[in-house]
């Protein structure tokens, strides 16, 4: 299916980080490299998931791992998402550092019991006696009529659950640094990727480095409007900003990189300057991460706002399959531009 092509087309024609001499690799390659490096450095790390050793290697992110680290540390699994999550939890309690990879977040809904009732609570519920160092990964699907059960962006559900980290890097550099932090962390981490960015390249150092949780980054400096863009929406926001620049509208783009914990300060500081905030998410609007970001920012910095916060997200409906409806379902550059124009009115 032409998913991959579809998204390559959309690769932005610009650098997302400062130009450096560092080699450029794709997001998927960065993840793959990180796995190789981390697994070599720590024998307690293992990786499992449906298809991690198959010809597609989970979009390439797991390629070569089983050959290198063997079938005990890299293995395909049965289709038993809830039990496998529990199995990951139990192995984490007994000294391992599991990375459990899912093709799509939709399947995490089968594992909510183990994620929410178990993984997120074990450390607290037992007074800190045993923690759960566990990374759960999934890649948001999009397009080509994948429809309601194969293209959900349900990360917002995890925003509400105490005891979880929620990590959503948008570029290869962050993907590597945050994956390292996630694996090193002693707690359950939900690590959400997006199909639309897995093939995008950016400069990624070969050495291992860690990006702290709760540290957003300014992807683009500006003074008129602050855009908080999540995951793939960073790409759309940058495109919108470039267009708006021509109209002398100057956008600041913040990529929070992790939603839980959330870098409230970086957003607040930007809003102090711009007085205007638009939050662009890849999921549904109502009750989404955008609601929490809006609420907390208003709590902390209401006086800085010159206009109400806007949310650019998908409408509150299941993903439709027909491309004509998909087009409208997924907000992008144009919706962002429209929101900017409204907010500066």
């Amino acid at each position: 299916m032409p998913w991959k092509e579809f998204f390559i087309e959309r690769e932005p024609g610009f650098e997302l980080v400062e130009k450096t001499n560092v080699r450029k690799i794709t997001y998927a390659e960065a993840i793959n490299e990180t796995f190789h490096q981390m697994m070599a450095s720590d024998k307690s790390i293992y990786i499992m998931g449906q298809g991690v050793d198959d010809p597609l290697g989970m979009f390439g992110t797991t390629s070569g791992l089983q050959e290198k680290f063997g079938k005990k540390r890299v293995f395909d699994t049965p289709l038993s998402e809830n039990a496998l999550t529990g199995i990951a939890v139990g192995s984490a309690l007994s000294g391992m550092k599991p990375v459990y990879i899912h093709n799509r977040p939709d399947f995490l809904l089968l594992a909510m019991d183990q994620i929410v009732n178990h993984a997120s609570k074990w450390n607290f519920m037992f007074g800190g006696k045993r923690s759960v160092p566990l990374v759960i990964m999934a890649t948001i699907g999009r397009g080509w009529g994948s429809a309601a059960q194969h293209s959900q962006a349900i990360h917002s559900l995890f925003m509400h659950i105490p005891g979880l980290r929620l990590v959503m890097p948008s570029i290869a550099y962050d993907a590597k640094g945050l994956l390292i932090t996630s694996i090193l962390d002693n707690n359950p981490v939900i690590f959400i990727q997006h199909r639309g960015i897995l093939k995008h390249k950016s400069s990624v150092p070969e050495k291992m480095y860690s990006i702290p949780f709760g540290k957003g980054i300014i992807r683009r400096k500006g003074k008129d409007v602050t855009i908080v863009a999540i995951s793939y929406m960073v790409i759309e926001a940058i495109r919108a900003a470039e267009k708006l620049e021509k109209e002398k509208i100057n956008i600041e783009i913040i990529d929070p990189r992790t939603l839980k914990p959330l870098d409230e300060d970086i957003i607040l500081n930007s809003v102090k300057k711009t007085g205007r905030l638009i939050i662009c998410d890849v999921g549904w609007k109502t009750g989404g991460v955008g609601a929490e970001i809006a609420a907390v920012l208003m709590e902390k910095g209401m006086k800085y706002f010159k206009a109400p916060i806007k949310r650019v997200s998908s409408p509150d409906i299941p993903t439709p399959s027909s491309y004509i409806l998909e087009e409208k379902f997924y907000p992008g550059m144009e919706e962002i531009i429209a929101a900017v124009k409204e907010i500066i009115k």
Binding site: M1, P55, T77, P78, S80, Q149, P320, S321, L325
Partner: protein, 327 residues
């Protein structure tokens, strides 16, 4: 030669026509898919046609069928409207799901197809619920649910088996064991190859059946459906089949990387359509003229369905949020 004296010539020819139709529709999709006009993932069931046909022919129109992501065959075998199905693949408003579902979400309530879930194992409890309706209402309907070997790893199957047996529900659990889940061989996911044994532990009559041999499929399904109709409870049928194509899309691009090629070649020799055709020729129910006649008729029907689909209207953008709720 496959045969079974208890099956009437009329039914044998009907089975042949249905299997032929499913095959032809699949091949047509495969032929046109590269044009990128059917913008929805397709999961072809080439090689597995005898299961859908042999099971559904025993059902009444009012009986319920639930399907999964690989649902074209089930839809056709239960008598679903072909134009609506192809239109759904073309993402049209005229599709059976009005362009909201795509290939993985086929429905035709006029023939008891109440939908298909693309969550592996997800349709099993839903189907069990339809059987519960029949039990409560005493409406004498039978429900069939189709799922793959992969679905037998999901807990919902066992929860559903337990409930179906507990309430003695009129449901047939049909597992199409094609040995693969995407590119993963069954031995990497389960111990042993016999899934029906797991259902047996729940006290449910459970059988392993050659899913290439439509005579066997037909007979076992008939028994099971009759039992269900007589309020004698659920049955589990495991059909051993082979997936001839890639998991999704067309062809079998990665076959050298994920398949046991030798085993696969053996499977490719056992074509359910060919086997049945040869048997019917030997039984003098078919000859080359008759075959051509059936083939032509099917081609016409299929071509007209594709033409209908291609020229059908797309959904109205302004109706994006329609159907979120039912009034």
């Amino acid at each position: 030669m496959y045969t079974n004296k208890k099956i009437s010539p009329k039914i044998l020819l009907k089975l042949y026509t249905i299997i032929f139709k499913i095959r032809k529709v699949q091949l047509k999709i495969e032929e046109l898919y590269p044009k990128d006009e059917m913008k929805t993932p397709v999961h072809l069931c080439i090689g597995q046609e005898a299961v859908a046909a042999g099971v559904c022919i025993n059902l009444k129109k009012k009986d319920y069928v639930f399907s999964n992501h690989r649902g074209h065959g089930h839809y056709i075998a239960k008598g679903g409207n072909l134009k609506s199905m192809i239109s759904e693949l073309y993402c049209k408003e005229t599709g059976c799901s009005k362009g909201r579902g795509g290939s993985m979400h086929l429905i035709d309530t006029s023939v008891g197809l109440l939908g298909s879930s693309a969550i592996v194992g997800g349709g099993i409890p839903v189907a069990t619920g339809a059987a519960l309706s029949s039990y409560i209402k005493n409406d004498n309907k039978v429900t069939v649910v189709f799922f793959g070997d992969g679905a037998s790893e999901e807990g919902t199957l066992y929860e559903s088996l337990n409930f179906a047996k507990l309430k003695n529900l009129p449901i047939i659990f049909v597992c199409e064991n094609n040995l693969y889940s995407v590119y993963t061989y069954i031995a990497k996911r389960q111990y042993g190859k016999d899934i029906y044994l797991k259902a047996k532990g729940f006290g449910i009559p459970s059988f392993s059946v050659d899913g290439i041999n439509v005579f066997d499929v037909y007979s076992k399904a008939k028994e099971a459906i009759e039992r269900a109709r007589k309020k004698q409870g659920p049955t589990f049928l495991e059909f051993k089949v082979a997936r001839w194509r890639d998991h999704a899309g067309t062809g079998d691009h990665y076959k050298n990387e994920y398949r046991n090629i030798k085993e696969h070649e053996e499977h490719l020799k056992k074509c359910p359509l060919e086997k049945l055709q040869n048997s019917l020729i030997k039984l003098k129910l078919l000859n080359s003229n008759k075959i051509k006649e059936i083939s032509k008729k099917l081609d016409l029907e299929i071509e007209s369905a594709f033409a209908y689909a291609q020229k059908g209207p797309l959904p109205d953008k302004n109706e994006l949020t329609k159907h979120l709720f039912s009034e």
